[in-house]
């Protein structure tokens, strides 16, 4: 009985061994397939004749945008920023990521204007959102927060620690291949930076600030594409992309809007056109920060 069982077993194992061998040589295994998938996701490679324009677009840092606005005369006004107390309103991962970006713009705005007590509140709100969005690693280094608290009266140190957080965010995103997440965060920061600048522009119509605002509208095309390419097509992002498309369409319809997309244009639009842009952007920003987009 045992002998007969053994012969059947030998035949079965031999068959199994051969079939496994042939599987690995003829058809891609599951692990091969996942390896290929990983490559496609992690890269933006294309052959020589198949390169879309925005392949590998490098997102500027939110801090760079904030410092450009400040250099152009953006003054501080406490009531413009999104209150850190709204932090518990954001329920979905996308709204958490978008508002992580919003708060990062507010944080830089405060830091650049020596509002260090407010900066601390924004830092805490960002920490909470990063943890809730599954990116707690960014603030895992306790020393950043502790050092920030300990040096809150030293402007250079505060700036250093805040930039360290931006660096940790970039690092986390690169390590986890979440470049699409970076675009969501940047979108939040861009909307908030533009909102604050447009509100400030509306009070004094500073021409330099107007030029900077118009310049930033050239980013809209890349932001929209980035949101549309987000894996899984989250409804919130698709809706936001649609609204931003409308915004882009309205601003670029102006006769004064630069038509050559590659040239620098230090031109501003007419004040009434900027104010119309401001109203449209404010409505998008309100939905985002009051969590009406979910």
């Amino acid at each position: 009985m045992l002998n007969s069982l053994s012969s059947y077993s030998i035949a079965a194992f031999l068959l199994l061994g051969m079939s496994l061998g042939s599987c690995s040589s003829d058809a891609p295994s599951e692990s091969d397939a996942s390896l290929e998938d990983e490559m496609e996701v992690s890269e933006t490679q294309s052959s020589m004749d198949d390169i879309p324009e925005d392949n590998g677009f490098i997102i500027p840092s939110a801090f760079h945008l904030s410092s450009l606005f400040q250099k152009s005369g953006l003054a501080f006004s406490d009531g413009l920023v999104n209150s850190p107390e709204n932090v518990n309103q954001y329920g979905t991962r996308m709204s958490k990521l978008l508002n992580f970006g919003v708060y990062s713009a507010d944080l830089f705005y405060c830091v650049l204007n020596d509002q260090n007590q407010s900066s601390r509140k924004y830092l805490k709100a960002m920490k909470q959102l990063s943890e809730e969005a599954g990116m707690g690693e960014i603030f895992n280094t306790k020393t950043i927060l502790e050092n920030f608290e300990a040096n809150i009266d030293n402007q250079d140190s505060v700036l250093k620690y805040v930039l360290q957080i931006q660096e940790q965010t970039d690092d986390y995103i690169e390590k986890t291949n979440e470049e699409h997440t970076a675009m969501v965060i940047f979108t939040g920061a861009w909307i908030e930076g533009m909102y604050v600048s447009l509100e400030s522009y509306s009070t004094g119509q500073n021409e330099e600030l107007g030029k900077r605002i118009v310049e930033q509208t050239y980013m809209l095309d890349n932001i929209i594409k980035g949101l549309e390419l987000h894996p899984g097509d989250p409804e919130e992002l698709q809706n936001l992309a649609t609204e931003l498309k409308e915004l882009h369409k309205s601003v670029s319809a102006s006769e004064d809007y630069p038509k050559d997309q590659y040239e620098f244009h230090e031109h501003t639009l007419r004040p009434e056109e900027i104010m119309s842009f401001k109203n449209a952007l404010s409505s998008i920003r309100t939905k985002l920060t009051k969590n009406q987009a979910e």
Binding site: N55, S61, E167
Partner: protein, 166 residues
């Protein structure tokens, strides 16, 4: 006695299984040789950024194929700002050529090639005289012939950007 027989049968089965697998031409699982040294490259590019304000690094992953590839990164620029870029290709198994243009690939009309280099690390700067709002960096990745052991060759290029707007 019966246990001994079971054990010897099991041993035999194991040998037959291994033989069966190898005789049927089983492929070795594809290996990957990844030359990327991201942390070291990041340290190197940051060091080179002085006296500009370091903004961020971007890593482009490369998987070599048996055909040429071009990877393009587009960088937005803002007026009244000086920029410095450091490209580090030390995390690649073979050299690549890097070309910098004022227009994107596939849409170029009288493009200006700002520079090209095949060095492991190089730097370039753009000042206010560069009147474009984007700069395009092309990594020309050469083909690598498939090897018998089918090891996939990978690596990465680290790009750091910095600015001065004081």
């Amino acid at each position: 006695m019966q246990l001994k027989s079971i054990l010897s049968t099991s041993g035999l089965l194991a040998i037959v299984f291994i033989l069966g697998t190898s005789l049927s031409g089983g492929k070795k699982e594809a290996g990957v040789n990844d030359a990327c040294k991201r942390s070291e490259s990041i340290q190197a590019v940051k060091k080179e950024m002085v006296p500009y304000r370091y903004e961020r690094t971007t890593t482009t992953n490369v998987t070599f194929k048996n055909y040429d590839q071009v990877k393009e990164v587009a960088i937005p620029l803002f007026f009244d700002t000086k920029y410095k870029f450091v490209v580090n290709c030390e995390g690649l198994p073979v050299d690549v050529k890097v070309e910098v243009y004022d227009q994107p690939m596939g849409m170029r009309k009288n493009p200006v090639k700002i520079m090209e280099s095949s060095e492991k690390q190089f730097t370039f700067e753009l000042d206010e005289e560069y009147l474009k709002n984007r700069v395009y960096i092309n990594y020309i990745v050469p083909a690598l012939e498939d090897t018998e052991d089918e090891v996939i060759q990978k690596g990465c290029i680290v790009l750091a950007s910095g600015y001065k707007n004081v």
